[in-house]
Amino acid sequence: MSTRRDFLKGTGAAGLSALLGPSLLQPAAARAEQLTSAGVWKTSGSHWGAIEALVKGGQVAEVRPLADDPHPTNMVNGIQGLIYSPSRVRYPMARAEWLDKRKDADRTSRGDNRFVRLTWDEALDLFFEEMERVQVSHGPSGLYAGATGWRQTGQFHSCINHMNRAVSMYGGYVKKAGDYSTGAGQTILPYVLGSTEVYSQGTSWPLILDNAKTIVFWANDPLKNLQVGWTCETHEPFEYFDQLRDKIASGEIRSISVDPVRTKTQKHIGAEQLYINPMTDVPFMLALAHTLHTEGLHDQEFLSVYTLGYEPFIAYVMGEAEDGVEKTPEWAAPICGVPVDTIKEFARLLASDRTQLIFGWSVQRQQHGEQPYWMGAIIAAMLGQIGLPGGGISYSHHYSGIGVAPSGASMPGAFPLNLDIGVDPVRTDDNFMGASSTIPVARWIDCLMNPGGTVEHNGHTVTYPDIRMAIFTGCNPFHHHQDHNKMRVAIQKLETIVAIDYAWTATCRHADLVLPACTQFERNDIDSYGSYSRSGVIAMKKLVDPLFHSKTDFEIFSLFCKRFDREEEYTRGWDEMEWVKSLYETTRSANEGSYEMPSFDEFWEKGIVRFERGEPWVRHADFRDDPEINALGTPSGFIEISSRTIGNYGYDDCGEHPKWMEKIERSHGGPGSEKFPLWLQSCHPDQRLHSQMCESDPYRATYAVKDREPVYVNPEDAAERGIEDGDIVRVFNDRGQLLAGAVLSEDYPRGVIRIHEGAWYGPVDASPNALDTYGDPNTVTLDVGASKLSQATSANTCIVEMEKFKGEVPQVTAFGGPTSI
């Protein structure tokens, strides 16, 4: 990393400085945009951090991290390839079959990748005609424009806001609830801890490092995930992990990673691993509760003052509930694969001194994903350290710089997603024909397959609308949704799919109309520097003009709104720089007197405004201090170890308190493991942001194996199957099949393989059960709701078999766009 900086610092520096002058050797953040003989360096931001790019002859010649970032991610090296990817959407295009017949077109051929080039006028006319047709014939329940995802960064150009505002200018549509990252967690924790927790600021690292004696990372690999952020990432938490490494080395802190896999974080900080069988965290935790309770290690006073419902829960643990099973360590050991003594010792260790529990999101991305999160909160409550520095539980320290004490400054707002006050849509029809206007996001495929059907969700009954058209922008459901073969059948119900993106994702491939947006590097914008740390405001300067025929989302939707006479209302008559400046000025005046910000021109020239770090902070300390006044947001205001509210829903898959429930399928002796003995984990990638940057060819080449996505596998599991490192393998189950490149690693235990989510889906053709040529794990994952409570994704409940691929290896079809006809 930082090769250019290192290079300049090295022996070549003297010679170079003579050639280029001193400017390049100044700290980048302090340097204004400068024209040198070598081109212009421009500042911008990204999910991967702040960058500066050398623009030379109208091309981005080099991208490097801004000197302000002391822990830049290697992924910055992928940005240039992202801009100049052969997978860029170059022109507006329509699916060949669809263009003539529209709603009457054959939909079974979706995904055959045959497209026809259009002009922008033709494409936008088609877009509007279809939306109007669907709205007139089916009302707002016919249109799904609610799915949104990790848009490119930039608060003005945020594509979610542009699409939602533009479509709302015309009429209503079906929205989504929840997301694919934290669906079960964000649903259960409000009942237990009174907040979604997964997106909440956590205790500041300095207080954890000063007070905790034991830090447990539970199914969590923060050093992998903290590389990216929702807005421009600052990578500030990394310094604390270095401090943690030193404290572990000196024996001041003991850190344990509860995980089947040796994680990047575990290896970096030198933590111990506590191996556990996949999907069996709940039996392990019930046994921990059993040990804490029977050995009197639980904090009875904390439980009495701050919690409700311990009795029904502990009765279940002690075998006094209906099932009559006592959840002893002896009961749990064979299920979770942790020896009896290790369970007991671990429980004693947790209770011995100050213990900080830090959970990742993977364990709630599985069937019954609510249960391990609920159990985590109960273990923390039994330890009685919630609200103390270095104690209690966190579900967010791996996300977007959480744990860095926030500055307190106001951050830029965004292009308004909603209509301005006083602006009415063209159609005010809000008749959803008896169906729900909001659906749980991970159930949208079920919704397509069962219009009018019902599903339980979080205490309500959702009635599925009859959706005819979907609009996706900066959102790739063909990456984040499970079971692609099921999806391909379900989307045949849709008459029209519109996708707006800068790259030919699998969602574009399966769409009818594809519009080319430009990348964030081809537009001017402004962003928060540090999503949660609020460390500053960064200028995102246009590096080059939009490539090919692409346009900004702002321009695309301005032209779209023009078709129904709402362009002025949509843009307010402001242009790009007026909007950017307005977002800056609003932030500046909100911060006036507290956090000084320079004039816009000065900011734009410097590229960044920094704010000082705030005071360290302890999560739930106010609740601990006074639980009556600072009540939690639970129904009772207290920590709910048992929830009567949930109990009253009467769900069979999420009851009054956490329980161990066997999964539909599970490795390591669980259901189905004889046929499919390998657990496939599809966690967040180390070298992408979800599916973003997979299309960056030179960067992908640094980790791909024979052009395929890596599948990480234990050497003995590989040997049993005659697989060697670097082999192309077929990973399969009854749902689908994919090709991937084997990487043998002792970091993975027997029976566990990993393919990072976000690998681009590239089926050989449009046929059912088509082989995926690149290695998207969601080709084989399970599509069921985690429970009736959350209806969240169950991606990590997935077992497979793998074999060395024999026969002619098909070309990778995931990249490079469509066949133009």
């Binding site: 949104t148 924790l189 979604t196 997603l417 008559g573 402001w574 129904p635």
Partner: protein
């Protein structure tokens, strides 16, 4: 020091009530003195209308005057400068004299050191600013309009952004100060500005015109007392609380708040309705447990939590300010704030997507991502709870 003592002695003399002279003598004397000093008075008043006079005291020179110098009202491309009296002294004679009478308070403060340091000035900045804003709101920004007139604005010469905000304001003849607070001096800390609708509500609530026997709503946290005379608050009503005014005494009113409380803890938090976690008052421990002030009836069990809730009538006192007779406008303000603050990353869920007791958890989970301050967050959360699925909305 000598000026201070002279003025002090003068003030003592004129402010002492007359005890031995007849009213007639005072009136006649005043009349004659008036004629003699008429010319001098006007001259003196004109003198006090100069910038030099205003900045002759430290509080003005070192604080607001310096702040003015960094604004467009001090330096601009056309070279027109607004000095202190241009904005702060009415140009019409009667109003001018009225303002001068008010201003004697500021002279008092200057002479006796109430605001003679930066810290003291900052402590009172909000109060001083609010007086001035109230004055400008009352005259619909008259002094601003001596120079800035909607009728003379050239919309085409404005930026699109300026026009977006100015045209609707002109259509409603909105006073300048309602949006442009802080345009010439620093804003006080912790003062929510920017929403003209909220400013209107604040004005209404600040008027303190309440009638015994009528029902009102608190539009912000209001300190409460256990008697008409007490100066020690025993808690506060929270925004949205609905009270009936029982009595009044001087600047205080006695109210009855009919609500609920949980049987776990000290009962310090009072809730709106049975089983609904919408707080309407927070009381001190002693007050909460005083059966005279908080009269509780037999509790009922909330099936959702197993906790007992008792109906209570809280009878306490407060100042007259902070109440309005109609609450819907407050929710309109909250709705706008919710829609803009909670849609920067995603579409905001409909208020009726969650139940009253689910909203706090949803809201607390995300509020750290927004720029809302505590008051604003409180307002928005209360709005969401009051418009949740439990209030008739469908999922």
């Amino acid at each position: 020091m000598s000026l201070k003592s002279t003025l002090s002695s003068f003030w003592n003399t004129v402010s002492r009530p007359a005890t031995t002279i007849s009213l007639g003598v005072i009136s006649l004397g005043g009349f004659i003195t008036g004629i003699i000093f008429w010319g001098g008075f006007n001259t003196a008043m004109e003198l006090t209308n100069t910038e030099e006079f205003c900045v002759s005291c430290h509080a003005m020179r070192d604080n607001v005057y310096v702040e003015l110098q960094s604004t467009v009202h001090w330096e601009n491309r056309t070279g027109v400068r607004a000095t202190c009296p241009d904005c702060h002294v009415p140009h019409e004679w009667t109003n001018k004299v009225a303002r001068k009478m008010q201003a004697s308070k500021e002279v008092w403060a200057a002479v006796f050191g109430t605001i003679n340091t930066r810290e003291k000035f900052e402590e009172r900045r909000a109060e001083l600013a609010k007086h001035e804003w109230a004055r400008l709101e009352a005259n619909n920004s008259l002094e601003c309009r001596n120079c800035h007139d909607y009728d003379s604005m050239d919309w085409d010469a404005m930026s699109a952004e300026a026009r977006f905000y100015m045209e609707p304001a002109a259509a409603l003849n909105t006073g300048c100060i309602e949006c442009h607070k802080g345009i010439a001096h620093h804003l006080p800390d912790n003062v929510a500005v920017g929403s003209p609708a909220m400013a209107k509500l604040e004005n209404k609530a600040n008027s303190g015109s309440v009638t015994v026997g009528e029902d009102y709503f608190a539009i912000r946290d209001i300190p409460v007392y256990d008697s008409a005379e007490s100066t020690e608050p025993v808690g506060n009503l929270t925004l949205g609380a609905a009270v009936e005014i029982l009595d009044e005494s001087g600047d205080r009113i006695q109210f009855a708040l009919k609500a609920w409380r949980k049987d776990k803890g000290f009962g310090r938090v009072i809730f709106d309705e049975f089983g609904h976690n919408i707080r309407v008052a927070v009381l001190s421990k002693d007050t909460a447990q005083d059966a005279q002030l908080v009269e509780a009836s037999a509790p009922q069990t909330d099936e959702a939590t197993g906790l007992d809730w008792a109906p209570v009538t809280v009878t306490l006192w407060s100042d007259k300010q902070g109440y309005v007779d109609e609450i819907d406008e407050l929710w309109t303000v909250a709705e706008e704030s919710y829609a803009s603050n909670c849609s920067t990353c995603h579409a905001q869920p409909d208020p009726d997507h969650f139940g009253t007791n689910s909203w706090p958890a949803q809201f607390n989970g995300m509020v750290g991502f927004t720029n809302m301050d505590e008051d604003q967050a409180n307002l928005v959360l209360t709005y969401l709870q009051k418009h949740s699925a439990d209030y008739g909305g469908s999922h």
